[in-house]
């Protein structure tokens, strides 16, 4: 999310906008303009802005900064729907990452980013460099990354290509984060046909900083020096930004930029060096050279600071001979930073970098004429008014119209069954579905204990870490049920925030803010833009209701492949404050004899449910309408109950409904030495609804908690105060015992050892021979 920007830009007409083309460079023809993904309107505006035809270098600069990825030209107006303010907000959208205030002078910086297209082309490097980019966004704010999460979407694991992408992405995410030494505390993976050919790879990073160390990427101080720090610049990923802004096709295959290779070792050195530079007050500003590399980092820092910059591409250390200014400006070589420092500090900056075995090279300076000027040695190859370059990309307001077939799917009913699925088998089928089954196969490849702050690692509702030396902690999660968004974008958007908040609250933490990664198809298609607008409205309304401002995020459009647009997937990354951290609550039952309590009411909503999808192969119906007041009441109740120490466990009901939630609580965590049985009587609960709705309906605002018998009264009272329905359903049973449900009709009973095996083997058995897949 670009903007808001500081206003003191020098508006005086910038002098000297002359530039010459670089020797051997193609001249700018209509074809060349189109190749750069610039339409006539945009090109005309460029010419007006310069008062002449641009040089090829300038065209490349515009095509990068005016790409969807950098300019948000289709999404800006919609993103304004989001609430971005609140008492905790230290930095909202517009910087490398958002920042929220925490107790004791601490603050949390967090952000989520997509790396979908690169991962579709090269899953391992695409995912790895995605993690690298989001880490840099966070530590350039002056924050030390303390957790990463990853939200992944693939097509069915029955197809070799999808298994290959899944395996490669997970290995890439793991190898990068493991090497840098940031624990992965959570994430999500789901599988649906809509992602075949266009997987989604979203990475989130959470960092901690002292409030006074908060750093903003704003160049200022005329005469200050620009330095590139880190890796040499190669021809990697030239045009990555515009590549990320078009559909995957033969055409884009041909234009595919050279694959970016991640170097997590250099990243680790960059991390340490950057934090040392910031905390020792040696620099004015720093920004990651991400999409559109040197171009966007320098132009955006200048625009934010309302100044001009002049850089000499001839000074940039390159990996290959004979790179042109065009290539140097647009290269997306990884593990590079752009730093602004006062001239007299440069030697000290270089000394710090040298200690960390990195080079820091001066390549330019901050100027007062507001011009973004690039020279290659003597020759000026680009001279563009800085503020308009970053801000004046045309903004589009595409048509939004719901697709007929979406309306039809919502109105549809599942094919009438000759015989309903057997309710006992149904649960086993759901636990074996890769989207619902344990993701242990995934998170076992991710270091989750490094840094010694992990309190609850992957495998529970939310990851929890403690802030060492304090009493408090943070809970983190990412969530989105794209099936719901596809059927009803507005309710689906609300549901994504609600599920994230439920996951956070189940851990005992108070939701304090979100970052969002909006993965959609081609916004120029009315039905896609409808999904986008409605989903954003839903996210916005939920965030208002929960008082969780949106502090930043990322928009990824053009997630289309020959098979069509991906399911609309607005991934919500949420952070919660856990005070005290010792009040944290896990999601599995703990103690035989504990009382099992169901919080919230069940109307039995099967629209868009996993039950219909997995058992009837039917994706349709009206998804549950999310009752934001009820969700908020449940969240506040869970937080209060955790603080009061009333709960031994809490687990939200989401995909698969009440039955899956109960089963997961019984099965136990990934490394539990045993499962736990339970005896529950649901006959007094939700009497009006049919059995399959009771078990597998996906109504929101519900959680399954367990507590010591002595705590039941207090919990019930607290629930009443929060207006949350309570139902004492039964008690936790013997280790490795049976899960037994008294329901209208014959009693249901499962062997929890068997359920545990199904739940944890579902993905490993499908990936057993993935090494042969391509």
């Amino acid at each position: 999310m670009a903007e808001p920007r500081v206003a003191e830009a020098p508006r005086r007409k910038p002098a000297g906008l002359t530039a010459e083309s670089f020797p051997g460079e193609r001249s700018v023809t209509p074809e060349v303009v189109r190749e750069h993904n610039l339409n006539d309107l945009e090109y005309d505006r460029i010419v007006k802005l310069l008062g002449r035809t641009p040089t090829l270098t300038e065209l490349g600069i515009f095509s990068a900064l005016w790409s969807e990825h950098c300019s948000y030209k289709h999404s800006k107006p919609i993103l304004r729907l989001f609430p971005t303010e609140g008492p905790r907000v230290l930095q909202g959208p517009g910087e490398n990452a958002g920042v929220l205030r925490l107790p004791d002078g601490w603050a949390v910086a967090f952000k989520i980013e997509s790396h979908n297209h690169p991962s579709a082309v090269e899953p391992y490097q695409g995912a790895a460099t995605g993690v690298g980019g989001i880490l840099r966004d966070v530590f350039t704010m002056g924050a030390r990354p303390v957790a990463v999460l990853n939200s992944l979407r693939f097509g069915s694991l029955d197809l070799p290509r999808n298994r290959y992408l899944f395996a490669g992405v997970v290995r890439g995410v793991g190898d990068y984060g493991n090497c840098v030494g940031v624990p992965t505390l959570g994430g999500e993976v789901s599988f649906a046909p809509g992602y075949t050919g266009n997987p989604l790879v979203n990475a989130m990073c959470v960092g901690l900083l002292r409030e006074q160390d908060l750093m903003r990427a704003r160049a200022h101080g005329v005469g200050n020096v620009l330095l590139v720090v880190g890796s040499r610049t190669g021809r990697d990923g030239i045009h990555g930004a515009s590549f990320a802004s078009e559909e995957l096709s033969e055409k884009s295959e041909a234009r595919r930029p050279q694959v970016q290779v991640g170097d997590p070792f250099t990243e680790k050195l960059l991390l340490e060096a950057t934090l040392e530079l910031i905390t020792s007050d040696l620099i004015v500003a720093v920004q990651d050279m991400g999409a559109a590399g040197l171009t966007s980092s320098s132009a955006e820092m200048a625009a934010r600071g309302g100044v001009g910059v002049e850089i000499d591409t001839g000074l940039v250390p390159t990996r290959e001979e004979g790179m042109t200014p065009y290539e140097i400006l647009l290269s997306e070589s990884q593990e590079r930073m752009l730093v602004v420092a006062e001239p007299h500090r440069v030697p000290a900056v270089q000394a710090v970098c040298d200690k960390w075995e990195l080079t820091a090279t001066s390549i330019g300076r901050v100027t007062d004429d507001g011009v973004f000027r690039v020279r290659h040695r003597e020759r000026v190859v680009a001279a563009i008014p800085g503020q308009p370059l970053v801000d004046d990309c045309p903004i589009y307001h595409p048509e939004a119209r719901e697709g007929d077939e979406a309306r039809a799917r919502r109105a549809a009913r599942p094919p009438t069954q000759t015989r309903l699925p057997d309710p006992e088998r149904a649960l086993e089928t759901l636990l074996d579905a890769p989207s619902l089954a344990s993701k242990r196969w995934v998170y076992e490849q991710y270091d989750s204990t490094v840094q010694s702050a992990t309190v609850i690692g992957p495998g529970s509702d939310a990851g929890v870490l403690q802030i060492l030396g304090t009493e408090f902690g943070l809970a983190v999660t990412t969530d989105c049920n794209a099936r719901l968004v596809a059927l009803d974008p507005y309710e689906g958007g609300k549901a994504a925030v609600a599920e994230a908040a439920r996951n956070i609250a189940c851990a005992g933490a108070l939701p304090i803010g979100i970052t969002d990664c909006l993965n959609f198809g081609n916004p120029e298609k009315p039905e896609v833009f409808f999904q986008f607008r409605e989903a954003c409205r839903g996210v916005a309304d939920a965030c208002r209701a929960f008082e969780t401002p949106v502090t930043g995020g990322n928009v990824s459009f053009y997630n289309e492949s020959p098979t069509g647009a991906v399911d609309p997937t607005p991934v919500v990354g949420m952070v919660g404050l856990l005070e005290p951290v010792s009040a944290r609550v896990g999601s599995n039952w703990v103690e035989p004899g504990d009382v099992i309590v169901i919080l919230g009411a069940t109307r039995g909503e099967l629209g868009g449910s996993a039950y219909w999808a997995e058992l009837l192969d039917f994706v349709g119906g009206q998804p549950p309408a999310i009752d934001l007041a009820a969700e908020r009441g449940l969240q506040r109740l869970l937080v209060a109950a955790a603080k009061a120490g009333l709960m031994r466990s809490a687990h939200d009901c989401a995909e698969g409904g009440l039955a899956v939630a109960l089963a997961e609580a019984a099965i136990g965590g990934p490394y539990a030495t045993r499962s736990l049985g339970a005896a529950l009587d649901l006959r007094g609960y939700a009497e009006a609804v049919a059995l399959e709705q009771l078990l597998y309906g996906e109504d929101g605002a519900r959680a399954v908690v367990s507590c010591a018998p002595a705590s039941v009264k207090a919990l019930t009272r607290l629930a009443a105060e929060h207006g949350v329905p309570v139902f004492a359903a039964g008690t936790v049973g013997a280790p490795n015992g049976r899960l037994e449900l008294e329901v209208p009709g014959p009693r249901l009973s499962w062997d929890t050892i068997a359920l545990r095996r199904i739940y944890y083997d579902a993905i490993p058995r499908r990936m057993a021979h993935a090494e042969q897949d391509r």
């Binding site: 190669g234 990697d236 050279q258 694959v259 070792f265 250099t266 990884q334």
Partner: protein, 82 residues
């Protein structure tokens, strides 16, 4: 007949090779002056049964295309032992 095949899979030219960089740096630090342009890849040895040397090479190349090398990031070369 069967042939012993040596496959060398190297990072594409132009692509960053952090491993090669690290090794080059380390060799320098160890005082091996004049060692440069280091690239690190994978060496794969296998026995292929085929009617002729050419067939063995052809099959090995198929294996590289299908499995042994990543066409997006790697180049390979095949040698047949005699």
């Amino acid at each position: 007949m069967s042939f012993r095949v040596h496959v060398r899979v190297m990072p594409r030219v132009g692509l960053l090779d952090p491993q090669g960089q690290a090794v080059e740096h380390a060799l320098g630090a160890l005082g091996f002056s004049g060692a440069g342009a280091v690239r690190v890849g994978r060496a794969i040895e296998l026995t292929v049964s085929a009617a002729s040397r050419d067939e063995a090479e052809a099959r090995a190349r198929q294996m590289c295309d299908r499995l042994l090398a990543n066409p997006v990031t790697e180049d390979y070369s095949v040698e047949i032992e005699d």
